[in-house]
Amino acid sequence: MMWIFLLSDTFIFSCFLLSYMTARMSTTVPWPNPSEVFALTIGDKEIPLILIAIMTFILISSSGTMAMAVNFGYRRDRVKTAALMLATAAFGATFVGMQAFEWTKLIMEGVRPWGNPWGAPQFGASFFMITGFHGTHVTIGVIFLIAIARKVWRGDFDLERRGFFTSRKGYYEIVEITGLYWHFVDLVWVFIFALFYLW
């Protein structure tokens, strides 16, 4: 079922990226240069896109810890699974925090969904729509991870404790399902990073 959901989510993000492509190709006004828009001044040097690069590395690291959590889940290593899932959630929360920082910075600089100081007005709409939806997915993923990590930690899947809402037994497989969702969020970021930030 998670795969089916992810497939439908793929189409949602495809449509966002497609509408972004269409807007960018059909505008007669020059598109703002993302390399300059997302540059940060650290010290005295202006480094292009550095915040986005760090965010990318954080999300990839979170995917790595998640993959290992799934592995330990299959080995029924309760403590390591929960700890790695919480590490993943921490990476995810850091990512969302940095995204909030980025949004704040851009809004302060005058980017709005209907216009911005540098060029094509569609830039703001595409940016807020795509990264906003992705950030929402990350946030939901963090909540999902914490909920499942709590169950693993408590030993629900070893004791075959029944779920609060479903009254059904859970299995360690849920760790893999959570992992699928999380890797998908990372996957979407790979495409956003390439097509929106680097293009």
Binding site: W3, L6, L7, T10, F11, S14, L18, M21, T22, A23, M25, S26, T27, T28, V29, S35, P48, L49, A53, T56, F57, I60, S61, S63, G64, M66, A67, M68, V70, N71, Y74, R75, R76, Y171, Y172, E173, E176, G179, L180, H183, F184, D186, L187, V190, F191, F193, A194, L195, Y197, L198, W199
Partner: protein, 133 residues
């Protein structure tokens, strides 16, 4: 992924795995996917390398077709690694791989349609609106 007790043939000889055991059948469900942790660390390392490469494309300010092809290349490689190893698609049965991977590929048709459409829109805007702005 509640696959029935199917033994999946794996290409890599080093990774002889058993398929997932059906949970519903009440069999001991302790096995599942068993890969060495090293596999994940290696993939993790590669993802870091590929991300660094795609960042360097921007850092050195490469332009034109070289930039676009490099970006797309690194993007596809990263996506492939994540789906194949992290999401265990490489060890799933073929039917699932086709069912999940084929439909997104068809999005490329939509992309092609929208490329024509936006070219057309752009042309109309240049002809009728650009002079007034």
């Amino acid at each position: 992924m509640t696959n029935a007790a199917v033994h999946i043939e794996v290409q890599q000889p080093s990774l002889h795995l058993q398929g997932h055991e059906a949970l519903a059948s009440g069999a001991a469900h302790a096995k599942g996917q068993q890969h060495p942790i090293k596999l994940y660390l290696v993939v993790w390392g590669w993802l870091f390398v590929l991300s660094t490469c795609s960042y360097l494309v921007d850092y050195f300010g490469l332009q034109g077709y070289l930039r676009w092809s490099l970006i797309l290349l690194f993007m596809v490689l990263k996506a492939g690694l994540i789906v194949a190893v992290f999401m265990h698609m490489a060890w799933e049965r073929l039917a699932l791989a086709y069912a999940i991977l084929l439909p997104p590929v068809l999005v490329l048709v939509f992309v092609a349609i929208m490329v024509f459409e936006s070219d057309y829109t752009h042309l109309l805007r240049v002809i009728f609106f650009a002079s007034s702005t």
